[in-house]
Subunit: 220 residues, 2 copies
């Protein structure tokens, strides 16, 4: 009995996701769905990006969390628009939550929408939120075996950010191994190695964002 | 329609969990359910514990993962019994999986059973696996706000391990803040600060394990 119910839930989510996508497309807004373990640095990456590119793009963030508005507050402190979704224990965002959050944002002239999902490498991957692309984040403190152990995310993501590279001297993390596993799962995966703390590697990430945004603008 | 189905699933899980618990109780086996984010160091803590206490206790491990047998292999290399459960994308273990895994273990004379759950701070918390206690692990690389953001685990756990303390000089993690939040959620929570890499702090963890095991033996 459980399986058809789950299928209905996923189908309803997919339908709403297409509506969200159409709405964002009409505004030529690039939407990225950030997925990672808890504490991999999604909010830190957004804080840096919003500060560094705030003069270039108009950006907004939908923050997903079980509890607290901590992350929305961190993001709002950069001056960007932020909406917090509290899932009250739910393990992922869905397209209906994102649709409701869009109603609270001023989409006029917006260039990029970031959706920061609940920290979880499993469940968020299955729920399309109407984004253009999923972005997988992995902190080097988590271990280089994560693409192999949580393959679906790395298979579906358009890009992977290997974050906290400033910790590389202090942890056992083989960058080549992580890259190789992820690329095996997804040969088109773009990979960025960076540190939100030191700033190293952010330029390549910013260049990719600009490319993706330009692609969206020209309907690619 | 979804809610009653989920309730049925949880009720069926609870029933089977009681059977697992009865089975473990009859063998006076202490069972601990380890829950954390991906890469917080569950397997590393088990590797250290199995090696260091292998002469004192007979221990076995049930390893839960979406894919791969990596962790069971790491654990088996210490000489301990290990069974791998692959959830094939499932985001948590349940009591039926654990029950089936028990059939593959020699429970005779076993002192401690560790259940290493799927790396996920949300879903595993809701599924009783028949354990005596849940153990929450948190790596200091993940940030001190995790007890506040994922409260249910820290509320239900009997103990919390703050792992990777060797990284403290290189990350922004306020031990007092993490301890305070966790203790607010759960005033009886035992807290261990340790590093599986350096070995610092392991003694207190081992002493607690011995206490818990003695309590089990004497039916406390």
């Amino acid at each position: 009995m459980q399986i058809p119910v789950i299928r209905n839930v996923l189908e309803a989510n997919e339908k709403k996701a297409e509506q969200v996508r159409a709405r964002l497309r009409s505004g030529r807004i690039l939407a990225l769905n950030l997925i990672s373990s808890p504490g991999a640095g999604k909010t830190s990456l957004l804080e840096r990006t919003l500060r560094d590119l705030g003069g270039t793009f108009r950006m907004a963030v939908i923050e997903g969390d079980l509890q607290t508005t901590n992350d929305a507050e961190r993001v709002a402190a950069t001056g960007a628009q932020a909406v917090q979704i509290n899932t009250e224990g739910g393990c992922h965002l869905n397209s209906d939550m994102v649709s409701q959050a869009l109603d609270k944002l001023d989409l006029n002239g917006l260039d990029i929408l970031f959706i920061e999902n609940v920290g979880n490498l499993v469940c968020p991957v299955e729920f399309d939120c109407g984004e253009d692309a999923k972005l997988a984040l992995l902190s080097v403190a988590e271990g280089d075996d994560k693409p192999e152990k949580y393959p679906l995310l790395f298979n579906l993501a358009k890009a992977m950010v290997l974050n906290k590279t400033d910790l590389l001297p202090y942890v056992s993390f083989d960058l080549a191994r992580a890259r190789a596993f992820a690329s095996k799962l997804n040969k088109d995966l773009r990979i960025f190695e960076l540190s939100c703390r030191s700033g190293q590697g952010l330029d390549a990430w910013y260049a990719w964002l600009a490319e993706e945004r330009a692609g969206k603008l020209h309907g690619r």
